[in-house]
């Protein structure tokens, strides 16, 4: 088993990983920026090293200082959390070069899955259904021909893309040339890689993802699916749940089978997620996230397994502590992300000091947070303050429990997503289940318009 882990992250996920390490009897080393000196993860760790000033490029992405902190602290492994360096194959390579275990899949898998066109090709070979689409397109002419064959509407995507950048929906041939030029320019500017490909644009799909975990002995299991269709206009998720509601038994087992096949195809080790778009009963591979995800707690709560612990065990060379047969879903879980942001202003991040941070608790409630009263929220990082998870024996019970928990969430000093999440819990559309990914942007706009 590993002895000492450096957590190359901040916020609630750093707190989460420190706890998992401690529960395994492993020492935890924190890193922090000058803006995070008072952060909870710094207090909860056994040691902590400042690695740079507030801006992420100079601190949480400062690979030399992070790796050096791991070495001088005597850590034998680095857990990247999510975001920052979590899906950076080069960072995983550098860790290996310095004798540090990177807690995640192999750099090779990170690399392949990070390139969307490559990932699509691998999935296609593994008989994982992908959206009708193309490989890399070398010209507008190629794109025009492909789009005609696939049928409009289509989506132009950068192979190096992410966060909605380098993506253009194209409704008809007239829009294609302009869309190609702008997407290419945006991808070039953001990722230094302007290569594009095309996909069929699905009509109001749902976002369903499947959690998998693999070990170095070739075992790969799925830990069920999550519905993450409640997304902000930026496609960042706000509310997630497990299991996915309004899913036929056939579709559910197809998703699970396909995820296992995908994991086996790349010999996946560690926790990972296959993201799918669901259109009617058709399932299409979208991308693979080669990291632990923000929304992993809903899966943990429903299946009674600790996924971060499993990541650490697998990285230590241990076998998975459960087989597929041990994994049984119990009840239903919903997660609401409490972000310091203003939903009515297109979810603009809110900076400030938390004058109050009273979080809910009690039966069926799990909270993952780094917030405390007095915390000054630095302007450099993402706005997640807390994840509230409600577990119920049924989806309805989980929704009602979440509604009550949100009413008991008292955060002051900054605007948050609490009220919007509360409105969603009371919304008939959400309660019915199975909403598409454009639901929340419309809902949030309507809430903002009525000023409620």
């Amino acid at each position: 088993m590993l002895r000492k882990i450096l957590i190359a992250n901040r916020g609630e996920i750093a707190v989460r990983v420190i706890r998992a390490a401690h529960e395994l009897g492993i020492e935890a080393v924190a890193i922090f920026s000058e803006a995070d000196r008072e952060a909870l993860h710094v207090r909860n760790a056994d040691e902590a090293y400042c690695v740079g000033p507030g801006p992420v490029a100079r601190s949480y992405l400062n690979i030399p200082n992070i790796v050096s902190a791991a070495l001088i602290s005597g850590a034998d492994a680095i857990h990247p959390g999510y975001g920052f360096l979590a899906e950076n194959a080069r960072f995983a390579d550098i860790c290996a070069d310095h004798g540090l275990t990177f807690i995640g899949p192999t750099p090779d898998v990170i690399q392949k899955m990070g390139d969307k066109a490559t990932a699509r090709a691998i999935m296609h070979d593994a008989k994982v259904p992908t959206t009708p689409g193309t490989g890399i397109l070398n010209s507008v002419a190629e794109a025009t021909a492909a789009a005609r064959k696939i049928g409009y509407p289509v989506m132009l995507k950068a192979t190096a893309g992410g966060g909605g950048k380098g993506m253009r929906a194209v409704r008809g041939p007239a829009e294609l040339e302009h869309a190609f030029a702008t997407a290419q320019a945006e991808a070039e500017a953001n990722f230094k890689d302007g290569r594009l490909y095309l996909e069929k644009l699905l009509d109001r799909p749902r976002h369903i993802e499947v959690q998998i975990v693999g070990d170095t002995f070739g075992n790969v299991v799925h830990v069920g699916e999550r519905d993450c269709s409640m997304q902000k206009p930026s496609h960042q998720k706000l509310i997630e749940e497990a299991p996915a509601p309004a899913l036929s038994k056939g579709v559910r087992s197809r998703l699970h089978d396909v995820a296992i096949a995908a994991g086996r195809a790349v010999k996946y080790t560690s926790a990972g997620t296959l993201e799918f778009l669901l259109s009617g009963d058709d399932v299409f591979f979208m991308e693979m996230n080669t990291r632990i995800q923000v929304e992993h707690p809903v899966t943990e709560v429903v299946y009674g397994v600790d996924l971060v612990r499993e990541q650490i065990r697998v990285a230590s060379g241990e076998k998975l502590s459960f087989g597929q047969r041990d994994l049984v879903a119990r009840g239903h879980a919903i997660e609401c992300r409490i972000n310091a942001e203003e939903p009515a202003q297109n979810f603009a991040p809110a900076a400030g000091t938390l004058s109050e941070a009273t979080l809910p608790g009690g039966y069926g409630i799990r909270v993952d947070s780094h917030a405390y009263a007095g915390l000054q929220i630095p302007p450099y990082y993402d706005s997640l303050l807390a994840k509230v998870v409600a577990h119920g024996s049924t989806r309805h019970e989980a929704i009602v429990r979440m509604e009550c928990a949100l009413r008991e969430t008292h955060i002051a000093g900054v605007n948050t997503t609490v009220d919007l999440c509360l409105a969603v819990m009371r919304d008939e559309g959400f309660r019915a289940g199975g909403v598409p990914i454009d639901y929340l942007p419309n809902f949030a706009a309507a809430v903002a318009a009525t000023g409620s």
Binding site: E34, Y49, C50, V51, P64, N65
Partner: protein, 146 residues
């Protein structure tokens, strides 16, 4: 607001706090709340904590460069996380040094990152020991202009 009275209350509160060994004392004044607290910081890793404190009268930047408060004195800080190695012969407190003198280097991932004086001066303080791990922004030397 009667400031003189408030400030006198704060003074007494703070003194009482120290004498009585209290952890905290709170005063309310109109719509302000003033709290005096003994500092009880989370324990920093001992290997690091000693050198982190910024000297009382100095102002400094954290990128290895030097900033001046009063012309009197400046602090050289680590920009890299690593192990500090004092140059031989090591400079002692009180020593007068030339401009651009290499006082130490921070070894980080096998690379030596030199710490140099930016102008002539006298070494007021050496905050670190040879071979000690240092973090970003950690104070290494205080240099007084001469």
């Amino acid at each position: 607001m009667n400031w003189d009275q408030t400030l006198e209350r704060i003074r007494r509160a703070a003194e009482f706090c120290v004498e009585a060994g209290l952890l905290r004392f709170r005063i309310e004044q109109d719509d302000l709340e003033i709290e005096v607290r003994r500092i009880a910081r989370p324990v920093r890793p001992p290997a690091i904590s000693a050198g982190v404190a910024v000297p009382a009268n100095g102002v400094s930047t954290s990128n290895g460069a030097v900033a001046h408060d009063e012309p009197a004195h400046a602090v050289l800080k680590a920009e890299f996380v690593g192990i500090v190695r004092l140059s031989r012969p090591a400079v002692a407190e009180g020593a007068v040094i030339a401009e651009d003198r290499e006082l130490a280097y921070v070894e980080s991932l096998g690379i030596r990152n030199p710490i140099r004086s930016h102008r002539p001066g006298r070494v007021l303080a050496v905050y670190v020991n040879d071979g000690e791990p240092v973090e970003f922004g950690q104070a290494l030397f205080a240099i007084e202009e001469v």
